[in-house]
């Protein structure tokens, strides 16, 4: 048996799983080879010391505390899982019921307010004097006076002052609804038509 072969059998020898015939051959080699003997001695010493390597002993108190922490963490996980597993239950049992109640209350309040407004209108109408005919209605006119002469021939100039802006705004009231600025006739045309 060579040294190389001996070392290849070392692990099985240490673990006690080497066949008897190989053990005999290995021992025969060890008797003659100091180097391999040293190697085997060293390997045995390492293995024996590894077997004796003490585990830390943190005490029973530590293990109880660790268990409590694990159970607290898994309990928290369990609650999260349950909340995710049963969203329909949560919604139907609590959430949906409160939603329905709120919607019903809103509808009832709206209906009562609408009824009150309607009955008030009917009441006021019954209390008022008789209906007026077209001829009996008072005829009134709204006069709006705006001085636009200052803006004559100034269509293409930049509007700068507040006074100018106010005058244009008042002119808009005469010309049409808000937003029609620039879409209707020009200022000159308006002024000419007014004259």
């Amino acid at each position: 048996m060579t040294c190389r072969h001996t070392l290849s059998l070392l692990d099985d020898f240490l673990d006690g799983s080497l066949p008897d015939s190989d053990v005999i051959a290995l021992n025969r080699h060890l008797d003659q080879c100091e180097s391999c003997r040293q190697e085997i001695h060293q390997a045995k010493a390492v293995k024996e010391n590894l077997e004796k390597l003490p585990a830390q002993e943190p005490g029973e108190e530590y293990f109880e505390e660790a268990s409590r922490l694990i159970l607290a963490r898994t309990g928290h996980l369990n609650r999260i899982e349950n909340a995710r597993s049963f969203p329909a239950y949560d919604k139907s049992a609590a959430y949906q019921l409160s939603e329905a109640k709120t919607a019903f209350l809103r509808s009832a309040v709206s209906f009562i307010i609408a009824l009150f407004v309607l009955s008030s209108a009917v009441y006021i109408d019954t209390q008022a004097p008789g209906q007026l005919t077209e001829n009996q209605r008072p005829q009134s006119k709204l006069y709006v006076s705006v001085d636009l002469t200052e803006l004559q021939n100034a269509d293409n100039e930049i509007i700068v002052t507040v006074a100018e802006q106010n005058k244009i705004a008042r002119g808009m009231l005469l010309m049409g609804p808000p937003g029609s600025l620039g879409r209707g006739p020009t200022l000159n045309q308006i002024l000419q038509s007014l004259e």
Binding site: L10, D11, L14, E39, Q42, A43, A45, V46, K47, N49, L50, E51, K52, L53, P54, A55, Q56, E57, P58, G59, E60, Y62, F63, E64, A66, S67, R68, L69, I70, L71, R73, T74, G75, L77
Partner: protein
């Protein structure tokens, strides 16, 4: 899928310590039996069904074993504590898978060992492996000190064990885990192959290389 191998640590029976989460009151199962008398397989079935007491009992039964493996691989209390907690939390998250596995202990050891190796790689990268006793809380260090018999004996043993630990620290994580599981914890090569989900030849190879490295590091120092 975990291969059907004998329950690891057969030579090291599970801790039979009763759960002390509720001191003074021994929990009874549906048949009126104390939970610490119930076999692991039954406890696992109950745990999968949602029985929290069964889970508490499984923790109590395996926590020391997981702590032992982790503390030997990682070499310090804080990391071992992290492994213990994280292993059981991961088991809880993956409890549905437990219905398919043959041996709870193998599954548990696999989760713990893999997490320890990951943590060891992380620690090696950040080079912040702590000292094994200095990282223990003060009262625990005192407990360890009380086990001293004679100063000379302790000094010799401590030096030897420090050398062994120092040499173990120099091994790559997987080789370290393999030698810890085999030579320290007493797992067989078949069990380790099942834990790492690899061929036995890989385990034999890792073990052979790890032992050779340890011999080289510790040459003429033991």
């Amino acid at each position: 899928m975990i291969k059907p191998v004998p329950e690891p640590g057969a030579g090291k029976p599970d801790s039979t310590e009763p759960s002390k989460l509720n001191p003074g009151s021994k929990e009874l199962d549906s048949n009126g039996l104390a939970t610490d008398k119930v076999d692991t397989k039954t406890l696992v079935s109950r745990f999968v069904e949602g029985n929290d007491q069964a889970f508490a009992e499984l923790i109590a039964r395996f926590r020391r074993r997981i702590y032992g493996i982790a503390s030997r691989i990682l070499g310090n209390h804080l990391d071992a504590d992290e492994v213990v907690q994280e292993t059981f939390v991961r088991i809880y998250k993956r409890r549905k898978e437990l219905q398919k596995i043959s041996y709870f202990s193998t599954f548990l050891t696999r989760v713990a060992t893999n997490y320890s190796i990951d943590l060891l790689r992380k620690r090696k990268n950040s080079s912040s492996v702590g000292d094994d006793t200095t990282s223990l809380p003060g009262d625990i260090q005192l407990d360890l000190a009380r086990k001293v018999e004679t100063p000379g004996q302790v000094l010799d043993n401590k030096r030897t064990m420090d050398r062994i630990r120092g040499a173990l620290e120099k091994l790559p994580p997987k080789q370290k885990a393999t030698i810890v599981l085999h030579d320290v914890e007493g797992y067989t090569k078949e069990e380790i192959a099942s834990i790492f989900d690899c061929p036995q030849a890989t385990v034999r190879s890792n073990l052979h290389i790890a032992r050779a490295k340890l011999r080289k590091i510790l040459k003429s120092r033991l």
